[in-house]
């Protein structure tokens, strides 16, 4: 499955993926993050129920130092 994550093209050998599964594949489980899927926020509570499809565009963000 081809996804665009944080502006980078990524290919996964999976025919189906949920947001939760993707977070685990990326090694981000347990991290404090927020996810936008095609411009809409996916609440953490919906990670497991939200299926991804080829071509989806994701933004995965966290908090960093800033003024």
């Amino acid at each position: 499955m081809h996804l665009l994550i944080n502006g980078n093209s990524r290919d996964f050998d999976h025919s189906s993926l949920t947001v939760e599964a993707l977070v685990t594949l990326l090694g981000l489980q347990g991290k404090r993050l927020a996810i936008e899927l095609n411009g809409d926020i996916v609440p953490r509570s919906a990670f497991q129920a939200t299926a991804l499809k080829a071509g989806d565009k994701l933004e995965i963000v966290g908090a960093v130092g800033g003024g």
Binding site: N6, N8, L26, L33, I41, A63, V64, G65, G66, G67
Partner: protein, 259 residues
């Protein structure tokens, strides 16, 4: 007790600090401890995907039980981008509503774009956010932001990262006089006396990052800023003596002089 009250919460510290530009997270934490700040700003950015899964994050060093986060919209140049960023921040921080809105107008000066800022403020207030808003030192704009429902206005002292200090104390004074919400100086403070002057003018607080992070000794500067904000606040509450060209009233008795 004299406290800073923002969006229904009281803070004993009137110094708000940013978390950027430090050498590492240990220094960030040490400087923030020395500053005594309770509210710390954070930026929202794309997470590093892949290589460094075990990497520590800023929030590990600044646990939410100890600090109130103020997610910002630094780097946003449109109302839409700012609103989008803060909605992500709210999700990231479990429904957290207190935010710092800033919409920039120009990458060279980082001067705020107040037209976009006003638009974003309106949307965010309607959406239930408590908006502390970075703004120009225009008294009319500051009042409009208050009318929209922002919980604090934060005019610049001078440009972000410039360290030029308070360039227009008169405008700040007008903004403070007009306001029914806290006015905090955000941006431009360079050293402790700048922070003290902001507080003496009647600001409710000061927000800074570079003045501490870019000092030769950030931790010592953080402590200086803490004391400057406290001293400035006390001086404001104490009410300064009037300025006059000369007084002809010396502090020592005029009688009893030896002859």
């Amino acid at each position: 007790m004299d406290t800073l009250n923002i969006a229904g919460k009281s803070y004993h510290s009137r110094l708000l600090v940013g978390t950027g530009k430090y050498k590492d997270f240990t220094e960030t934490r040490a400087a923030i401890d020395a500053s005594g700040a309770q509210i710390v700003t954070v930026a929202i950015r794309r997470t590093n995907i892949g290589q460094n899964a075990g990497e520590a994050s800023l929030l590990d060093y600044l646990p939410p039980e100890e600090f109130t986060y103020l997610p910002n919209t630094a780097g946003c140049y449109s109302a839409d981008d700012a609103v989008r960023t803060l909605r992500l921040a709210r999700e990231l921080l479990d429904g957290h509503k207190l935010v710092k809105l800033e919409v920039l107008g120009d990458p060279r000066t980082l001067y705020p774009n107040m037209i976009e800022t006003l638009k974003a403020a309106e949307t965010l207030v309607k959406d239930g956010f408590d908006v502390m808003v970075y703004c120009s030192d225009d008294p009319i704009i500051a009042k409009q932001l208050e009318d929209i429902g922002c919980c604090a206005v934060m005019p610049l002292a001078s440009l972000i990262g410039s360290g030029m200090g308070i360039l227009n104390p008169w405008n700040l004074q007008i903004i403070i006089e007009n306001a029914n919400i806290p006015v905090l100086v955000d941006a431009g403070v360079g050293t402790a006396s700048d922070a003290a002057i902001a507080m003496e003018l009647g600001c409710q607080g000061v927000l800074m990052n570079t003045a501490i992070a870019a000092a030769r000794d950030p931790i010592l500067m953080a402590s200086a800023m803490k004391r400057a904000v406290e001293a400035g606040r006390d001086a404001y509450l104490a009410g300064r003596m009037p300025k006059k060209l000369y007084s002809a009233a010396p502090s020592s008795p005029t009688s009893g002089m030896i002859e």
